[in-house]
């Protein structure tokens, strides 16, 4: 599921953007080093392929509902991780711009959730070992099933974390996880079947396409352990940083996140180490330093004696409503005025 702008806080949005842009830069660099130009059109057309394939609906057996594919794993298997990641990122960009799936700020989150996990974590760590040399249909099917499900679970869990850290939604962690994970398990099952089926179909019809990818091209020979470590470090920094932002405003907020995430308070030292560092970066890079970067104003509003609450006291609020309607009227007037004068 796509993350939406309105549920994001700037801190989380910017962090995820930074992570995703770094990954795009890294993948581009890696690809540039050892790409044959033939891959460039293939990547583009493959992106369009996933797009088109997403628009074909099919009936999910047992239920009456219809589903469509997500495609991250298919791309990873066919193009290799770096090219697949760029293709996925471009698909999500087009979706954000044309279908408003997610949004521009949430794009960083979406690229992370739907691109990084399948391409850089699941593909090298799970798909490759299980699929082996790609000769056995059964192993490929199992690999595709398992990796699609895991990738989707990771993605769904990230949506939960990003929403919670942003603090715009009141959903408690447990409920949210219980809503998201099972839905995505079901989606993952269906998508796994489709992915497995398609890879095997292609393997039967034109095996050279897959072989060319997994063997002859150096960049697909596998991602080194070093890169995976880098990915994990980025992940750790991102979650740590986000958690520490959260923690700096609400000590109890950190407690529950850490408890829920790790089961114990161990991470605390780590986040405290990262927090000042990230804060420093943030202070240096924030072009509008006064921005409210705190993920949430969690102060519980208790009637009208809470001054921390901007503009919702009696009296103030009336002025707010009045001012708001005037502003809206004014903007509408501008809009209609322009329309009117243009028509003449």
């Amino acid at each position: 599921m796509h993350m939406a702008d309105a549920l994001l806080s700037p801190a989380v949005g910017a962090t995820m953007w930074a992570g995703s842009v770094a990954a795009i830069g890294y993948s581009s660099k890696k690809l540039k080093e050892n790409i044959d130009n033939k891959t460039i059109p293939l990547m583009g057309v493959m992106g369009a392929f996933i797009f088109a394939a997403q628009m074909i609906n099919f009936t999910i057996p047992g239920t009456g509902s219809s589903g469509h594919i997500g495609g991250g794993m298919i791309l990873a298997v066919i193009l290799g991780p770096y090219a697949a990641f760029l293709a996925m990122a471009s698909i999500l960009t087009v979706q954000a711009l044309f279908f408003a799936d997610g949004g521009l700020l949430a794009l960083g989150c979406n690229i992370w959730n739907l691109g990084i996990y399948p391409c850089f974590l699941v593909y090298p760590l799970i798909y490759k070992p299980i699929a082996g040399d790609g000769k056995s249909t059964r192993r490929i099917s199992a690999a595709a099933m398992i990796s699609v499900i895991i990738a989707l679970q990771l993605g769904a869990f990230s949506v939960v974390m990003e929403t919670l850290l942003s603090g715009k939604s009141e959903l408690p962690f447990n409920t949210f996880v219980l809503l998201m994970q099972p839905i995505h398990l079901a989606i993952g099952l269906v998508e796994g079947i489709v992915t497995a089926g398609m890879i095997n179909y292609v393997r039967k019809a034109q095996p050279e396409i897959l072989e060319a990818n997994s063997f002859s091209r150096p960049l697909d020979a596998g991602i080194s352990i070093k890169n995976i470590l880098i990915a994990f470090v980025i992940l750790a920094v991102v979650t740590g940083g986000a958690l520490s932002w959260f923690a700096s405003t609400h000590p109890d907020g950190l407690e529950w996140s850490i408890e829920k995430v790790t089961g114990k308070g161990e991470l605390k030292e780590a986040t405290q180490g990262i927090a000042p560092f990230l804060k420093g970066i943030q202070e240096k890079t924030a072009f509008l330093p006064d921005y409210n970067f705190k993920p949430a104003d969690k102060e519980e509003p208790k009637g009208n004696e809470t001054p921390a609450w901007p503009g919702i006291e009696t009296g103030t609020s009336f002025a707010g409503i009045l001012g708001g309607s005037i502003v809206l009227m004014f903007i509408l007037l501008i809009g209609f005025g322009i329309r009117f004068f243009k028509k003449r």
């Binding site: 700037p10 842009v21 790409i35 521009l104 009696t314």
Partner: protein
């Protein structure tokens, strides 16, 4: 949305972006930067804020009216993608039950404020992103991104993707039509047929990629997609950028709406 609708939707958005109005003529870089700043500003408001968000409707309204973009088109798209935000946000009034009074003695659950705040932010961000494309065209946004420093490989990827979406959609539409004509009721709509369909689609795609590659080679492709169009940052672009930066700044840091409200209230009482 059915397949055809989705297809024509993206096609229509593309058509809109080739109009020639004041907004369309602005430098794509200016529009991209201001739009990102705008989104960032809107999102940065605390979660109970409603009133201070309202002035920000000016930006999408200006883009829409000056750019001659039909309101209903944007509106429908915004409504169509709203379920996720609504679904997550609707829990706020239930879970955040602190009572707040707005008028004298009229109480309301605090969660409604954050819910409406989410809805307003959602409308603002989604419509602005759509309007950016509708007034700039996707290829221009891509070139702007490249000039702003995104890797050229990624930008060519975006351009390729965009170019071939239309071609592949035609192809897919033919396949889907063929499936629908041969299937009665639900037969033939299952997973097995679907897998074969996308298998075929994939093979055709790869063949197409090969043809494209040869065609590009014969036209001198060397791994980059240059553009003939040269953008230059004119005085108008600068004016547009400065105006909206000041606008965003003022309405982010000063409760202008509320001050206006108090003023009017004072006049009439």
């Amino acid at each position: 949305m059915t397949f055809d609708e989705k297809y024509y939707n993206i096609g229509f958005l593309d058509q809109l972006s080739y109009k020639n109005t004041i907004v369309h003529r602005l430098d794509p870089r200016a529009k991209v930067i201001i739009t990102l700043l705008f989104l960032f500003t809107v999102i940065s408001f605390p979660k109970y804020e409603i009133v201070a968000l309202l002035p920000f409707f000016l930006y999408p309204v200006l883009l829409m009216t000056l750019g001659e973009i039909p309101f209903m088109f944007i509106f429908k798209k915004v409504v169509f993608v709203s379920p996720f935000a609504v679904f997550i946000g609707i829990f706020n009034p239930l879970l955040d039950s602190g009572q707040v009074s707005i008028f004298h003695g009229f109480m309301i659950s605090a969660g409604w404020f954050s819910f409406f705040s989410i809805l307003i932010k959602f409308t603002l961000t989604v419509s602005t992103a759509l309007l950016l494309i509708a007034t700039t065209s996707f290829p221009n946004v891509c070139h702007a991104l490249r000039q702003l420093g995104l890797p050229s490989l990624f930008v060519s990827q975006l351009l390729f993707l965009y170019r071939y979406i239309f071609v592949l959609m035609e192809e897919t539409m033919r396949i889907v039509r063929a499936r629908n004509m041969r299937s009665y009721e639900k037969r033939g709509h299952g997973i097995r047929v679907f897998v074969r369909i996308i298998g075929i689609l994939f093979l055709r795609t790869v063949e197409r990629a090969e043809r494209i590659y040869f065609a590009m080679l014969s036209r001198g492709f060397q791994g980059d997609m240059p553009t003939l169009k040269r953008f230059h940052f004119s005085r108008g672009d600068l004016g547009f950028a400065v105006f909206f930066i000041v606008f965003l700044f003022i309405f982010r840091f000063y409760p202008a709406t509320e001050i206006l409200g108090r003023f009017v209230q004072g006049v009439f009482s």
